[in-house]
């Protein structure tokens, strides 16, 4: 994409956003009544659906049960229609397995698993439309689903993917920016304590820029947490109005 500039001279990106602007956020908690917890989240054009079951008895091999805490079982998959070309293998490929492992590590840091020994919590996330920042949207959707399921958590988990272009950090990358050769970094943060749950980067970045990029990522995550907070409070208010009637 030789002609497209990721960041114009006036500071506008490909989709017209400024460098630190997040994409449009739309979320709904509890779209499915049959699961213990569910959430649907759209960040720009990336759409993800998260479903949580549990805590319940260990399924499958009971030897994997932990005597003092719950096991979190995550599965990440993409719908076959989520990408520009029909996806041949939606689950089981290496990228999905790696994402599932990252999600598991992220949520083990936030969910209070010591309250449910010898049980299992399942988190399933499906990407319905992929336009960059898949991991971050999954984490945000799964946070809402876990809150909807009533599973105790220390704090929200907010995630954002940031990239570095022309000495400027860009927040919340879209697919065109990610594939345009930007060094992208995904950060999952527990906003109130400022604790990092997961930091992932597999591009090349000069050491001097790392500090700036991480600062930008943390600011973006705190922005995401404000939006998630508003969604949760709105959902609680609506639910309480229904019970009052």
């Amino acid at each position: 994409m030789a002609g497209l500039e990721l960041l114009s001279d006036q500071g506008y990106r490909l989709d017209g956003r400024k460098a630190t602007e997040l994409r449009k956020f739309q979320a709904r908690m509890g779209p499915f009544a049959q699961a213990d917890g569910s959430a649907y989240l759209e960040q720009g054009n990336t759409k993800a659906l998260a479903v949580v079951y549990g805590p319940h008895e260990m399924r499958g091999s009971r030897s994997r049960a932990l005597h003092d805490r719950a096991v979190i079982n995550c599965q990440y998959s993409m719908a076959t229609f989520s990408t520009a070309e029909r996806k041949r293998r939606p689950h089981g490929d290496r990228k999905s397995t790696e994402m599932s492992l990252h999600l598991k590590q992220t949520f083990e840091a936030a969910v209070m698993t010591q309250l449910y020994p010898r049980s299992q919590i399942d988190i399933y996330v499906k990407i319905l439309q992929s336009d960059g920042g898949n991991y971050s949207v999954c984490v945000n959707a799964a946070t809402l689903a876990v809150i909807d399921a009533g599973i105790p958590m220390r704090d929200y988990v907010c995630a954002c993917t940031v990239g570095f272009v022309d000495e400027t950090p860009l927040a919340d990358l879209c697919y065109a920016e990610e594939s345009g050769g930007v060094s992208s970094l995904a950060l999952a943060l527990l906003p109130r304590g400022g604790q990092i749950a997961l930091l992932q980067m597999d591009a090349r970045l000069h050491q001097d820029h790392l500090e700036t990029l991480m600062e930008a990522a943390m600011t973006a995550c705190k922005g995401v947490s404000k939006v998630l907070d508003e969604v949760v409070r709105q959902h609680l208010r609506e639910a309480s109005m229904l019970t009052r009637e």
């Binding site: 213990d36 319940h56 008895e57 009971r62 209070m112 009533g150 958590m153 409070r233 019970t243 009052r244």
Partner: protein, 204 residues
């Protein structure tokens, strides 16, 4: 849920909170359910309403409640209601349906070993004469189990044991002693380890 809406009507609008909200310091309140303690402060771990209850002369207990009950897990010492699924000369396998009076969304599996069926003459117990598949049993959790086993339950108390059983003819049986039940249709007696129902629960 009825009780929460009645609470909301009687009290002023309760405060909404989300996971991670700092509620108060540990010197002001005692932590209850749905909260956790960190560095001397109490934080919420659920999205719901803050409830402060005064219990006696101690500090008030602060907890976070939701409309829908969160999943409850059977804990050691809890009285559970279960249904017998299979029996075996050494133990009986059950599905745990209720913990206390809360129904579980998902069935948990449990085991009642032969030596935990009753408190006296443990070695002479025959599981075939204590339980049958399909019986509803009140039991107590003695262990969460280890790698090989499920929840371990016991009925070795007078108030624990079979509460509802059907006879071979299909009718619900009436208890006549701690070890026998009788079918009202055929008047046949069958052996069970019967629970002694508290007098206040019996119809007059």
């Amino acid at each position: 849920m009825g009780w929460l809406s009645s609470l909301l009507e009687n009290m002023s609008p309760m405060k909404l909170c989300v996971p991670g909200d700092k509620l108060c310091s540990v010197e002001d309140c005692i932590p209850g359910t749905g909260v956790y303690l960190r560095h001397g402060y109490i934080y919420s771990s659920l999205a719901g309403y803050v409830l402060r209850k005064n219990e006696g002369e101690e500090l008030p207990v602060i907890s976070v409640v939701r409309e829908t009950e969160a999943q409850l897990l059977p804990d050691v010492g809890a009285i559970v209601t279960c249904k017998v699924t299979s029996i075996n000369p050494r133990f009986a396998k059950v599905h745990i349906l209720y913990v206390g009076s809360t129904p579980l969304k998902d069935r948990f599996r449990g085991t009642i070993r032969k030596e935990d069926v009753r408190a006296t003459e443990k070695d002479k117990v025959e599981t075939y004469k204590s339980f049958r598949p399909g019986d509803i049993v009140l039991a107590k959790v003695i262990s969460l189990g280890d790698v090989q086993s499920n929840y371990l339950l016991t009925t070795a108390e007078n108030e624990l044991g079979v509460v509802v059983a059907h006879s071979e003819a299909g009718a619900q049986m009436v208890p006549i002693s701690w070890c026998e039940m009788q079918c009202p249709l055929t008047h046949a007696k069958e052996f069970r380890k019967v629970a002694r129902v508290q007098p206040e629960y019996l119809d007059a």
